[in-house]
């Protein structure tokens, strides 16, 4: 807060009528200083936001240098993660991150769209508020609590019921193969799905709500049933925004750490079966960063962090752009 505040305050509230002629000039100059100081201070805060991002990029790039020099692009193609011999390849982590995130999307997308459609188009008005409140409550649960629940509830259910069932029915595909321990890529995908549903469904809901009402009315007037109206009049119009929500959910899933670390098994291997344990980029950071000894080991981990950062930036920027074009770019679709 700028220093001249008290002086200005008294000046403003107790304007002496006699000094009116001299005042404006003085006040004008002081006001200018006050305004300038205030604007500068606020600008500084704004710059701090910018600086934070720059600092993140700088620190990550600088400190991942040794690993980059040692391994180059091969870092992301190598299978070995061998801290003892200082040989590092990040492919198993990249694989684990991608597979667990896409598995999460596979489960979460239909569910989230269903919930969003139900809350905006189908359910009674009175139910709308509570329903979206409950779904948003899912977003308020901390990652570590999801992990705790997953370890003691989800994983036993998976290993006792779901995984044996999947092995019996779909075991031939090779994706559901091997011993059903519960701790697996599948568990990570499911817990991630539960965590990203609130994001995707709340954005989808927002996007559905900005679809112009006359689109719905037009579809109904043509004799469409409610579902046809939703499909043709609503969902088709909101495609770009829904895609944005999905990509935003993907961004969250890629960077999610704790819950995944607790159930994925943390083994740097690439397996076709979803029953096998895996490892993600975020989990390896969580598990090994504070114990990493040696510059190359630490910088290899930071390079994983840098990769994770760049991927989530691209994914988030893409998502923001898509959502913005739908919710803010009204003029372009005003005549649609």
């Amino acid at each position: 807060m700028p220093a001249p505040q008290p002086v200005e305050a008294t000046k403003v509230s107790s304007l002496p009528p006699a000094g009116r002629r001299a005042e404006p000039f003085l006040r004008g100059r002081r006001r200018e200083t006050g305004d300038r100081v205030f604007k500068a201070a606020m600008l500084l805060c704004g710059l701090a936001v910018l600086a934070t991002l720059v600092l993140i990029v700088y620190e990550l790039t600088l400190r991942s240098g040794p690993s980059w020099h040692a391994f180059g692009f091969k870092f992301f193609a190598g299978h070995d993660w061998d801290p003892v011999n200082e040989h590092f390849g990040a492919l198993p982590f990249v694989y684990g991150t991608l597979v667990s995130s896409f598995l999460a999307l596979l489960i979460a997308v239909p569910l989230s769209i269903g919930v969003a459609v139900f809350t905006t188009e189908m359910c009674p008005k009175a139910l709308r508020g509570p329903l979206s409140f409950f779904v948003e409550l899912l977003a308020a649960i901390p990652s570590v609590v999801y992990g705790l629940w997953a370890i003691f509830v989800l994983v036993p259910i998976l290993s006792n019921y779901v995984e044996p069932f999947l092995a019996r029915t779909l075991g031939w595909s090779g994706f559901f193969d091997g011993p059903p321990y519960g701790i697996s890529m599948l568990a990570a995908g499911i817990i991630l799905a539960i965590m990203i549903i609130p994001i995707i469904s709340s954005i989808t809901r927002e996007v559905l709500m900005v679809v112009p009402q006359h689109q719905r009315e037009a579809a109904l007037a043509l004799g469409a049933t409610r579902w046809e109206m939703i499909r043709v009049g609503v969902l088709r119009n909101a495609r770009a925004g829904i895609m944005g929500g999905i990509i935003l959910g993907l961004g969250r899933a890629l960077g999610e750490t704790m819950a995944v670390t607790m159930v994925i098994g943390n083994r740097p291997e690439i397996a076709k079966s979803l029953f096998a344990p895996g490892y993600t980029m975020a989990s390896v950071l969580a598990n090994e960063f504070s114990e990493a000894t040696g510059d190359v080991y630490l910088s290899a981990l930071i390079e994983i962090g840098l990769a994770l950062f760049l991927v989530t930036i691209v994914v988030n920027a893409l998502a923001r752009l898509l959502v913005w074009t739908v919710t803010r770019g009204q003029p372009s679709r005003a005549n649609a």
Partner: protein, 294 residues
Amino acid sequence: MPETIKSSALHTVAPIALRRRITDHVMTGVAVLTVILVLAPLFAIFAYLVYRGVGSINWAFLTQTPKPVGEAGGGMANAIVGSGFILALASILGVPVGVGAGIYLAEYGRNRFGDVIRFTADVLNGVPSIVIGIVAYAIVVLTQKHFSALAGGVALAIMMIPTITRTTEEMLLLVPQALREAAYGLGIPRWRTTLSITLRTATSGVITGIMLAFARVAGETAPLLFTAFGNQFWNLRVNEPTAALPLQIFNYAISPYDEWHRQAWAGALVLIILIVTAVSAVRFAVRRGTFGAA
């Protein structure tokens, strides 16, 4: 003549309409099913939390520090207080910057440069928390040469800023332009108008944003792993490693001891109660506040 046309039309239309109506009902059913499938884990998590947590919360849990492995009893008092301490540090660092940046965007940032900062804040919001942890480690821990509460506070502050910035901006923009003009008309300088008129009017909304950011980082574990690090004992010094509730839950959850599992559930229940109370209080306040409807 007209009657025959009508009846034949009815005959050809009716079977299709039936199929369409069935599809309509099926899709409604599917939508209801998705809602049930989404809400089921929510209720399962809360039910199990209460079931496992309530039995484990007792006076010792809330007032004692952790006991060594094998000894019954002990609690997470130091972690609860430690979390509060780290969150206080994060708020002291993050709230002024976040609100300031929000004011800048709303009052001076209607231009290209403002768009850059706006976009930066959105991008920053999506950076994985574990990456923020690495950066806080690089900036604070490596310079101090040891883990500290301050490093944890810095990490959480970085996570709070973008949320606070964007909600503050949105709330300030809801304040009618006429109010600002009235203040200028009275000869009040611009900075004072912003602070005493605009910000004052939007207070409830701005506080909502701060509380949401607070609730979001209160349960964060990943950025604290190698910043605040955790501690088995009391610590209220800025430069020492500090226990935090989410960290303690994590360490106990992945341990092989039943007693620690029990305490992890109790800790999770305490954490959830704190967060849900904050979020519901905010929703309640917003609904009653002036700008809730806007």
